[in-house]
C-alpha cells in the first residue's frame, strides 16, 4: 500500500488521537504519581479505558483478513480497510503502552507486549517495503513474471536456450525435459506488462533446426559450460553471468570467437541470461516485499487470542 495523499485524513486522525490521548496520559500519570499512588496501570479506570479502546482497534485490524477473504461483501473498499488497518494498528500501540503504564509487565503481559512490538515493527517494515519495492521492480524488472510461475518460466527459458543453441550447434547431448512441448499446459497466458522500463531483447523460440553451422563449436562449449548451468532453477549468485557487467564482458569475449552468423544467436542467449537475472532479482524483491507477513499476520492473530486470555484473567483477578 502506497502512503500517498489519500492517507491525509487518517494521518491527521492518528496524530490527533495520539496527541490527545498522550496529553491525557501525561496528566493521569502525573496526577497518579503526585498523589502518592502507585502510578498508572491497567487496573485503573483510565488504564482500563485505554486498554479497551486499543483492543477494539486491534480486533478491527485483525478483521482485515476476514474482509479480504470475503471481497464481495459491501463493507467498504478493501483499500479503505487497509488504510484503517495501518493507522489504527499504529495508534493502538501507544494506547496499549498507556494502558500498561508504559511498562512491559510480567508473564503473559510481557509476552503480549513483545508480540505486539514484533507485529508493529513487522507492519512498519512491510509498509516501507511496499512503498519502495514495487517502484524498484517497475524500474529494474521489465521481464517481471507472475511470482508463482517463476520456476516454470526458468524452465521455459532453459528449454528456449537449448533449442536456440541446438538449432545452430547440433544436438547438445544433454537431457532436456519437455523438448517436444514448448508451451506450458494451459495455453497462452494473460497480457504482457506494458508499463515500466521494457527494454532489451528477450530470447524467442526459433523455428526448426537450421543445421550445424560452421564455427559453432565455441558457442556449444560456452553454452554447455557457462550458460546452461546458469539457467538452472538454483540461481548461481557467484557466477560471472549473475552480474550484468561481467556478463557483458563474457559474452563480448565469446562473440570474438564466433563467426558473424552466430552473433544473433549469441545475442538471444544473452537476453535469456538477462531475463534469468531479472527473475532472480524478482524473487529477492518478492521475498522482502512479503516476508514480513510471515511474522505480522500469524503473530497478530496469536496476539488477539492471547489478549482475550489476558482480558478475562485480569478481570477475574481484579
Amino acid at each position: 500500500m502506497l502512503i500517498d495523499r489519500s492517507h491525509r485524513g487518517w494521518i491527521t486522525f492518528t496524530v490527533l488521537v495520539f496527541v490527545l490521548s498522550g496529553a491525557y496520559y501525561s496528566y493521569y500519570a502525573h496526577a497518579s504519581s503526585m498523589s502518592g499512588g502507585n502510578g498508572p496501570s491497567g487496573g485503573t479506570v483510565t488504564g482500563l479505558a485505554y486498554g479497551i479502546v486499543a483492543f477494539t482497534m486491534m480486533v478491527f485490524c485483525g478483521l482485515l483478513g476476514v474482509r479480504k477473504h470475503f471481497r464481495i461483501w459491501r463493507l467498504g473498499r478493501v483499500q479503505g480497510w487497509l488504510r484503517a488497518h495501518v493507522w489504527l494498528g499504529l495508534l493502538a500501540y501507544p494506547l496499549i503502552l498507556f494502558h500498561a503504564g508504559m511498562r512491559f509487565g510480567n508473564g503473559l503481559s510481557f509476552w503480549l507486549m513483545v508480540l505486539f512490538s514484533i507485529v508493529i515493527v513487522s507492519g512498519l517494515f512491510g509498509i516501507i517495503m511496499q512503498n519502495l519495492v514495487p517502484r524498484t521492480m517497475l524500474d529494474r524488472l521489465p521481464a517481471e513474471s507472475t511470482y508463482e510461475q517463476i520456476p516454470d518460466v526458468i524452465e521455459s527459458l532453459r528449454r528456449e536456450a537449448d533449442r536456440l543453441v541446438g538449432g545452430v550447434c547440433g544436438p547438445l547431448g544433454v537431457e532436456t525435459e519437455g523438448e517436444e512441448e514448448d508451451r506450458l499446459p494451459g495455453g497462452a497466458a494473460s497480457r504482457m506488462r506494458t508499463e515500466g522500463a521494457v527494454k532489451g531483447r528477450v530470447g524467442h523460440a526459433r523455428g526448426p533446426s537450421q543445421g550445424v553451422q560452421e564455427g559453432s563449436g565455441p558457442l556449444k562449449a560456452f553454452y554447455l559450460e557457462v550458460v546452461r548451468p546458469f539457467l538452472g532453477q538454483t540461481f548461481m549468485a557467484q557466477a560471472k553471468l549473475a552480474v550484468p557487467q561481467s556478463s557483458i564482458a563474457v559474452f563480448e569475449h565469446t562473440r570474438t570467437l564466433l563467426p558473424d552468423t552466430l552473433h544473433e544467436s549469441l545475442r538471444d542467449l544473452e537476453s535469456i541470461c538477462d531475463e534469468r537475472r531479472q527473475l532472480a532479482l524478482q524473487m529477492r524483491l518478492h521475498f522482502w516485499l512479503h516476508c514480513w507477513l510471515f511474522l505480522h499476520a500469524p503473530l497478530s492473530y496469536a496476539l488477539l487470542v492471547l489478549s482475550v486470555f489476558h482480558a478475562i484473567k485480569a478481570t477475574f483477578y481484579f
Binding site: N38, G39, R103, M192, A205
Partner: protein, 573 residues
Amino acid sequence: MQQKARAQRVDRTYFKRVHPWRTSYRSLNWLLPIVGGAVMAALLYTPTGDNAYLPGPVSSKHAIFGHRCIECHESGPGGWGAVTDAKCISCHDGPIHHFNMVIPGGNTKLEWNPETGKPVQVQTATCASCHSEHRGNQELSKISDRHCTQCHQDLKVTEGAPRFAAKITSFEGDHPDFKILTGGKDTTPVKYNHKKHIELKWSEDAIKERQKLDDTFIKVPGATLECYDCHAPDSDRNYMQPISFEVHCQMCHPLAIAPIANIGDVKLPHAQSDIVAAKVSASFKDYLIQQGGKLPPKLAPNPKYKKPRPGQKAKDPEFIEQPEDRPPEKWIADNVKDTLEPLFKDGGACAYCHEVDGKIAGTELPKYVDPQIPRSWFPRNPNTPGGVTSVFFDHESHRVLNCLECHNTATTSEKTSDVLLPGKSNCVVCHSLKGGASSNCNECHLYHDKSISNFIGMRTFKDLHEGTATPAGKIKTVEHLHHPEAKKTEPEAKHEDHKTEAPKTEAAKTEPAKTEAAKTEAAKTEAVAEPAAAPKEQAPVQDATTQLCANCGMRWPLKTKFCSRCGAGMKAP
C-alpha cells in the same frame, strides 16, 4: 521479443497451483493462534500455570510466598479469584480508620448478628482496592491521595460531628494548620527556657561531667550549646528521646547537697521526693554506722567572727565546732529536715523546674508531677490504647536541615508552654509542587493504626517453605482471628475439632469455594444443629483493666467507648 512468445510461458491456471509460501503463510495464520490459545488454556489446569498470568512481581514483603497464588487469592472453579479481606487479615490485623467513618463503598466492616451471636462481614472486602500488588518492589501502603480525599474533601460521619476539617483536598491547599498551633499550648509540667539555654556556652567542668556519661562526647570549652547536645534521636530515629536529667541537665545542675553536718557530699537521685528523702536519711544513717555511732561535732556560729572588709580575710572562722549533744535519732531527723527543706519548699530547688501536685500519700513530702514529655505533639486518638497518634514525622529524613530552620521559635521561647512545633507553612516550603518534595497524605498520616494491631501469624516455617500456608482450619475468617478459641495451640484446636466439629471440617473440604454468605448460613445451621460447639462462642473473659469489643472481640482499655477496629460499641462488663 515477441510478446506472445513471452506470454505463452505463463500458465493461465497458475492460480490453481498454490505456492508453498502461501500455503505455509495460511497454515501459520491458523496454527500460531491455536497453539498459543491452547497453551494458555492448558496452563489454567496446571498447578503453577497461573504464574503466566502474573501481571508483575509482588512486593518484597510478599516475596516470601513466591508464586503461590493461594496465599492471597481465593481459589475457585477455573483458577484463582479476587483477593479477599479474609486473606489479607490472616496476617495484617489492620483496624478501620475511624469508628464513625462513612465507608465509601467497600472497606471491611463487621456487624454483630444477634441471632447467630457472630460478627458478620457486611461490606465487600476491598483491602486490595487500595493496596495494589504485582507492581514490583514498592510499598503497598503508599497509596494515592484520592483514597483519602474521596472522604475528606467532604467529610461526613455516621454519628456526632467530624473531629477534623470537613474539606481537605491537598496538603498545600486546604489542609489546616496543625491543631496545637491554633491556640494550643505545650502543657508539659516542667519549666524550661529554650532562649536562655541556646545562649549558653559549654564550660570545661560541664564537658567533663558529660564525658563521664558519654565518652564519645566532644566539645570545646566556650562552644555554644547546640540543639543536638540535648535532643538525641530515638532508636527509630523518627523522634527525639525524652530529655534525661542525668545526661542532659546534671552536668550544669548537679543534685549534690551541701556538706550539712560534716558528712561530706551526698549525691541525690533525680526522683520523686520520697525517694530523695529516703536517700538523704540513709546517708546520715550510713555515716553514723561508718563512724561507729559517734556523732560529728556540730558547727555553731563563732561569736568572735567579724565579717571582713572587701579584699581582706576574716581573722576568725565563721563557724566553730562544738560537741554534739543531741541523741542520734534526733540528730538524723534534724539533719534530714534541714537538708530537704531547701529542696522541697515552695520555690525550692525541685520546684524550680517541677510542678507540685499535693503530697505523697502518708507523708508530708510534696508530690512532683511526672513531666511525661510527649514523643509527638500531634493530637492523639482517644480510641487507641495509650492514645497513639495516627500522624507521624521522621526527623531522620530531615537531618540535612539545621534544627532552627524549622524550630526557629526556639531562639525566642522563654516559656515551656510555647509550642515549638513548626507550622504547615514551614513544611510547604519543601512539601509542595514548587518545593519538589512529596506532599501526599501518607507522608504523615496512617490510615490503619498499626499500634493496635496484634501479632496474629499462625504459620510455621514448614508452612512458608513447603507452600502449605493458609492451612485449612487455622485461619478462616475475621471473627475466627479475634476469638479467644483461635489462639489455642494447634494440638488443642485439633482435639476440639475432632470432638465437636468433624462435620464442619468435612464440609469445608468438599466445598472450598463456598461464599461468605454461604458460610454464614452454614454457621447458623451449625449453631442450631450442634449444641456441642456452643462453648466456642462463649464471651471471652475480661480482666480488670481492659474490655472487649462486643463485635470483633478486640481488647481495649476501659476508657475506650468504641472499637477502633470495627466501630462497634464495647461489651458491657
